[in-house]
């Protein structure tokens, strides 16, 4: 029997799934790797540790589950977080650690381009918001601030490109990850000269630009032996986690959007046109030549409720945050929709879409003497989801959204899913304990293997059985407060800046 392995190089961990050819999960394992914050604003990962962890987890899954069940691995498909940057020297050795998506050191570079006349054209060409997360900014930072490293740099990779190169020897970057570098012209699918110039590099310093279905060559002999894989195992470069998640949810075409809420969150739509926004609020990433994934990201997802739980939750068992969170949610259920007028702005980590204000900070607004702890709990969750709604609402200026799908551990908690349905006033679908990124990678592999003829045929097979219908009364209630939420989020900009400067 044949099986498909998907490998997701995520923010904190690698997740490996094995699917049979019908898309059923045969097994899965994850492995954590650390993010180092050696300075404020720095987020780095050790590329060798990421590679090794991936290898370790893959090997364990193969030996413990796949081989005992007599499966043969037909192909391995990769996905990863976007925006990582790894400089390597002419021998292929990493120059320091990889800079991950959440690294903010390139603030100045982003500000510089954003306020220049060239900025608008670069955003228009590349579709990537001009933000420190963008690899273009990070490379410019290295050029400006780490001259030694820059001088030795022979190539700039993404973490995924590095991992694949270790396995097969090929330097490749897929359209999706490339379109999130800020360096790719997403209309022409060619590296954008002005962006390259700003970053200070040439196109030949980047890996080969390839479609997401591309085979990345043969596994090196040593890995064939140590992993027990045959030489004909197909290695597919794959896409980014964001693009895979929307694919895995079967969201393609008019009227559909998908919401992902893990630690951070995003609202995304898929279509065959770029979303051109004058205020530069959205990203536009490529899945294939004529398939764009557009949307807006938020910094403040489930991580904010985790923060709240750590401060105010009742930890009966050490480190059992899931239990503490559930207890708080039970409290929140006792409070009516709208939290009796307590509003929370969740910007503890600054914010990206839609306000794009790194100085934004958290607020509880409207507090009166009758509010109790339970109101804070509910208001906190409502605030996080109002923010998700405000992204969707700005997207709706460009696309109509009729139905939603949800993935990610925070968003798919029943309490949150129902609240999202109510706030959006739209039906919401999901499949519990479903791993959209892994399933997206499965679909991509299945298309490449000829199991499905096209992307359209593949997404049609996705069934998300659980449906949450909106409560009209709650929706009305939420909208009264959302109006205030929305105004506060922009009105307070000067105060946000002042307080951020003091902190």
């Amino acid at each position: 029997m044949k099986c498909i392995i998907t490998i997701e190089l995520g923010t904190n961990a690698v997740r490996v799934f094995a699917f049979d050819l019908d898309g059923n999960i045969i097994g899965s394992l994850k492995g954590y790797y650390p993010t180092f914050h050696t300075q404020p604003d720095y987020s780095e990962q050790d590329p060798d540790q990421v590679f090794l962890t991936m290898l370790y987890v893959l090997k364990n899954l193969l030996n413990d589950t796949i081989y005992p069940k007599k499966y043969k691995v037909a192909c391995i498909c990769f996905s990863s977080s976007m925006h990582s940057v790894l400089a390597i020297d002419k021998h292929g050795n990493p120059l320091g650690y990889a800079i991950t998506w959440s690294d903010n050191r390139a603030k100045k570079e982003a500000q510089l381009l954003k306020t220049s006349s060239a900025g608008k054209a670069v955003y228009k060409a590349t579709g990537t918001p001009l933000h420190p997360m963008s690899p273009m900014m990070k490379i410019a930072w290295i050029k400006n601030n780490d001259k030694d490293r820059f001088k030795q740099t022979s190539k700039i990779l993404s973490l995924k490109s590095y991992v694949i190169q270790q396995l097969t020897g090929e330097y490749m970057i897929d359209y999706s990850i490339a379109s999130a570098t800020g360096l790719l012209n997403i209309h022409k699918i060619k590296w954008e000269p002005d962006a390259l110039k700003f970053a200070g590099i040439n196109a030949h310093m980047l890996p080969d630009l390839v479609p997401v279905f591309t085979s990345a060559g043969k596994l090196k002999k040593a890995y064939q032996t140590s992993l027990g894989l045959s030489a004909d195992t197909k290695i597919i470069v794959g896409s980014s986690d964001g693009c895979m998640a929307i694919l895995g949810d079967g969201v393609k075409g008019e009227g559909m959007a998908t919401i992902t809420i893990e630690d951070s969150g995003a609202v995304r739509v898929m279509g065959n046109k770029v979303l051109q926004d004058d205020k530069q609020r959205f990203f536009n990433y490529l899945l294939t030549e004529d398939c764009y994934i557009s949307g807006g990201p938020t910094n403040n997802g489930g991580i904010i409720f985790e923060w709240f739980t750590r401060q105010f939750g009742d930890f009966k068992n050490p480190f059992d945050i899931d239990h503490s969170m559930q207890e708080l949610i039970n409290d929140a259920l006792k409070v009516p929709a709208g939290s009796d007028g307590l509003i929370f702005l969740p910007y503890l980590l600054g914010e990206r879409a839609p306000i794009w204000n790194a100085n934004a900070r958290g607020i509880y607004f409207g507090l009166n003497i009758k509010h109790e702890k339970t109101h804070f709990v509910r208001a906190t969750i409502e605030g996080i989801l109002y923010e998700i709604y405000s992204i969707g609402k700005t997207l709706e200026e460009h696309r109509s959204i009729k139905s939603l799908s949800i993935n990610g551990s925070f968003g798919s908690m029943p309490f949150c899913t129902q609240m999202l349905a109510d706030i959006y006033n739209k039906p919401v679908r999901l499949r519990q304990n479903f791993h959209s990124v892994g399933f997206g990678s499965f679909l991509l592999s299945a298309i490449e293997m000829g199991i499905y003829k096209s992307l359209d045929e593949a997404v049609k097979t996705v069934v998300l059985p659980d449906q949450y219908l909106p409560d009209k009364q709650n929706h009305k209630e939420y909208m009264k407060y959302f109006k205030i939420f929305e105004r506060l989020s922009v009105k307070l900009a000067p105060e946000f800046e002042e307080i951020a400067n003091l902190q």
């Binding site: 994850k30 492995g31 954590y32 060798d48 090794l52 962890t53 992993l227």
Partner: protein, 296 residues
């Protein structure tokens, strides 16, 4: 509660307890100048405040201590009042003749019932600890009082009980310290601290018990938490770090394979070689050869 002080050598009560250098209670009813200067000495001292408020200098920092707070003073740590003043109030203390060396850790002596591994883990935590004050630690005063009673009453079995109580005091102090630094709320942060501790001392032969103690969990719960958070058992996670670091060292031609093996915590180059090959498909020397030939 009356003042008293027992001193090794002069107090008959301590005859069978050579490891107790001093034990006593001070009750101070008026401010005394130059009565409590900063000094450092051998052995471990434990001070437990019973009444009043004391401003003490300890291990390079100034602390305010209130009733039920306990100060833990390690060998050669400077301890006392910055201006030498002894404030109004009451405290009990014990001074133990335990040695603490940077390399071997604490040696308790034959009186202690703690196993060698436990003693080692305790000394690791004491040395790594940077907050020498245990706040609201009622157990400290309670146990010191029990030790005093045993020494004064000398009932049958007091010899064993005094030593048990000292062991118990250490055990409770260690548990409190790890709880203080790991309030049991933020596993990602706690795990990161553990990772740092492992990396700082990668050549050490870490045991699961030691790792669990650093985090303030029992080994069963520790195993479970690490596995569900990282996907690896604690020892496999450690191996993962070891190999990641070894890869970096292998790229430098000036370090021998044996040195790399020992630096990264493998007990022999053979052990290093098999583990490395199992994981990466290459032996360390093949990996190095591939790498160096690429660099020519």
């Amino acid at each position: 509660m009356n003042q008293f002080v027992l001193k090794q050598g002069s107090s008959e009560e301590l005859r069978f307890f050579p490891h107790i250098l001093e034990l006593g209670i001070v009750k101070n009813s008026s401010i005394r100048l130059n009565a409590f200067p900063k000094i450092s000495s051998d052995g471990i001292k434990i001070f437990s405040v019973i009444e009043g408020k004391f401003e003490w200098w300890l291990g390079g920092g100034q602390y305010s201590l209130f009733p039920n707070d306990v100060a833990l003073i390690l060998p050669q740590q400077e301890f006392g009042s910055s201006n030498g003043v002894l404030e109004i109030g009451c405290f009990s203390w014990m001074h133990l003749n335990t040695r603490l060396k940077k390399d071997d850790g604490i040696s308790m002596g034959s009186w202690s019932g703690l196993s060698e591994n436990e003693t080692h883990a305790i000394s690791k935590i004491l040395l790594a600890n940077n907050s020498p004050i245990l706040s609201k630690f009622n157990e400290g005063a309670r146990i010191l009082k029990l030790i005093q009673q045993e020494l004064f009453n000398q009932e049958l079995g007091y010899h064993a009980r005094v030593n048990h109580l000292i062991d118990e005091l250490f055990i409770l102090i260690i548990r409190q310290l790890t709880k203080q630094s790991n309030p049991g709320r933020d596993f990602p942060k706690t795990f990161m601290n553990l990772e740092q501790a492992l990396r700082q001392n990668l050549s050490h032969q870490w045991t699961v018990e030691e790792m669990a103690a650093l985090v303030g969990l029992g080994t069963t719960l520790f195993n479970e938490k690490v596995k569900s958070y990282s996907g690896f058992s604690p020892i496999n996670y450690l191996i993962n770090i070891r190999i990641s670091e070894a890869i970096k060292l292998l790229k430098r031609p000036d370090i021998s394979l044996t040195d790399i093996a020992l630096d990264t915590g493998f007990y022999s180059s053979q052990h290093f070689s098999t583990t490395f090959k199992k994981l990466t498909g290459y032996t360390p020397s093949e990996f190095r050869k591939n790498h160096l030939s690429k660099n020519k």
